[in-house]
Symmetry: C2
Subunit: 386 residues, 2 copies
């Protein structure tokens, strides 16, 4: 073989190698558009664009599908990286991948950006909601967008799955809001769903306390003068309101023990909170900074619509329809959805004739254990999928 | 007047007081004014007016004094009624009175309105803070008022007690912020304090999580345009901010089980939250209405100053000074200061050589059990005072 020829062959090998690494390793955002999407409340959305991501390969019988449903402020980016420059992988990368608990050598894993997704301004998110252009008016929907429910999130996911020829889910797994979506799936389409992994879940309906908590998260946006009854597109955005709302979310989702690391330290050593109201504590500085950092990718109306969808979550009266087996994974220090809610739901399901088990994890981060400490339940998830 | 003579006159006054208790059962607000009150941080308040209420009679040795320290949004009105038209009695009336757990036939019970008391516009409250007139400028202090600490609340109470010739406390009892004041007393004036009843207490210092929670309560006021950096006196008051702050306080102080009575019911039957963002849930309507009702008696700056005082609470490094015996009464469903905080503090005190016991109550109202369900600990309080 000539030197020239060898080089060409090597280039080809490397190109293939790289291509296959690309295809294999980098996560890609795809999307579909559904025309005249009907909401649970009977409204119609002319063009519903829905983003999704996949990992692993669909088998020929299409029987190896695991749907990942994301949390309140999450996206379809459950695993992998979009590119080599990504600092971190998708939020459940610890359990989704080759030979991991949700093994992509065995399963075709798929996750879908919720409609009215918070992160409307994240370049990787494809969603439809108040921030979208209404084709009928060529203007942003704003509050003219219909109120959605968790059932609408489910129907958006179903549309994606059906476009891929999928009619059955080996399992659905999701944390928090994702657990609500997974449970809603089991109550709406029982023949689709064999297994539900409900992580840091509220049970079969949102407790009134959480309705109030979500209501308080919404208030800073409603009171930001820039919110302007939802008409802020092309104007000053209600970033202050969004940042405070996100600060509240983070605080609610953390544990007392985790925040204790900040003690009563001031933000700046010489600006003692004992000397002036203007001086604040480090814990507040931390939470506020986190809120501000994330606010620019979040649409205020989408925050409100997502909150409302979860406030409405209730499948308690549809329990008889549910056929799936359940694995609940609550977190011991979770203040939002304490483990007792998972135990109650498991009891209700067992009384209904369903298999349901509860495994508590204790990663010390409160509700966020369900996102950042999910590897603590690796063995139980693996066993549940066997 | 000689010291001896003063004591004789005071004895006479209190003997007369005791006699008149039977004939005149209405609780009366009294007050003292302290000139040049020095704050812990070394600032001076020219005229500190301090309101207080008493029940029962001081014995001639002045050894039967029980000080009641009130909670965050509370006042000195711990028991009794001001008049026949009062709808309800003071918040701990269930345990303060003749033959009750804190028996006014035996004890002289006294409670003091905290400086920077929230309820500055309550006709029965006498307090000094940002809403007061600075004699030097003849204007409201606003944010020029010095930041106070729990130790300053203690010193205000001490000034009242000393004016009455009292130098020792048989016991101090208080819920929540009142428990912090009681513990601060024990760490500042160990020879004064024999017994502390710390109800729904945070322990020996405010957890960072609570610093964050208080920080979030303050935000709606700071963001109300009428707040105007604390300069709203004689102008539009920041009532919206105060009402939302109070809504947050109430929500934080209630339990998941108690709020569950509202389910996911809408405020108005025909205004379904599934149909419009403008329609809200009953639980939010309830909490918001409670906030609005109370907002008119609350000064916004006083809310901020009281919050800051508690954010600074920390006597952990003064534990060696403490001599008092402690009875902790946490509430099982308390989300703000869960029972574990009382158990930790009791452990620390026992390691320090102090007597400390913990009795959990379970009235189902969360933190508010310490206010509204205190009779559940009646027997233990009675025993502790024997």
């Amino acid at each position: 073989m000539s030197q020239h020829c060898l080089r060409a062959v090597l280039s080809l090998v490397f190109a293939f190698g790289m291509l296959s690494v690309n295809a294999f390793e980098w996560t890609e955002k795809k999307s579909i558009t559904v025309g005249n999407f009907k909401t649970i409340q009977g409204r119609e959305i002319a063009q519903m664009r829905i983003g999704y991501e996949t990992w692993g390969a669909l088998n020929s019988e299409r029987t190896n599908v695991v749907l990942i449903t994301h949390y309140f402020s999450g996206t379809a980016h459950a695993a992998g990286k979009y590119s080599a420059t990504d600092k971190s992988a998708g939020y459940w990368d610890a359990i989704i991948g080759d030979n991991k608990a949700i093994d992509t050598k065995r399963f075709f894993v798929i996750s879908v950006d919720t409609p009215v997704n918070l992160s409307a301004y994240d370049e990787h998110v494809i969603t439809t909601g108040p921030a979208s252009i209404d084709p009928a008016t060529q203007k942003h929907y704003g509050l003219a967008f219909p109120v959605l429910q968790v059932g609408d999130f489910v129907n958006a996911q179903k549309a994606v799955l059906e476009q891929l020829g999928i009619t059955h889910l080996f399992a659905i797994a999701g944390p928090s809001g994702g657990a609500m979506q997974a449970t809603q799936w089991a109550a709406m389409y029982p023949n689709w769903v064999s297994r539900v992994i409900a992580v840091i879940a509220p049970g079969l309906q949102l407790p009134s306390y959480s309705v109030a908590e979500l209501g308080l998260w919404m208030e800073p946006i409603l009171r930001d003068p820039n919110w302007n009854h939802g008409n802020y597109y092309g104007k000053q955005l209600p970033l202050d309101g969004v940042a405070l709302a996100l600060r509240q979310v983070t605080h609610s989702a953390l544990s007392m023990e985790w925040e204790q690391q900040f003690g009563q330290k001031p933000i700046m050593e010489n600006n003692l909170p004992a000397l002036s109201l203007q001086h604040d504590f480090l814990v507040n500085g931390y939470l506020q900074t986190r809120g501000i950092e994330r606010a620019t990718t979040v649409d205020a109306n989408h925050f409100l619509y997502t909150s409302r969808a979860y406030q409405l979550f209730n499948v308690a009266d549809k329990i008889k329809i549910i056929k799936a087996r359940f694995l609940f994974i609550p977190a011991k220090s979770d203040r939002l959805f304490p483990p007792t809610l998972s135990h109650q739901a498991a009891q209700q399901l067992k009384a209904n004739g369903n298999e349901a088990t509860v495994v508590e994890i204790d990663g010390g981060m409160g509700h966020l254990d369900g996102v950042f400490k999910i590897q603590l339940a690796e063995a139980e998830i693996k066993a549940f999928l066997n």
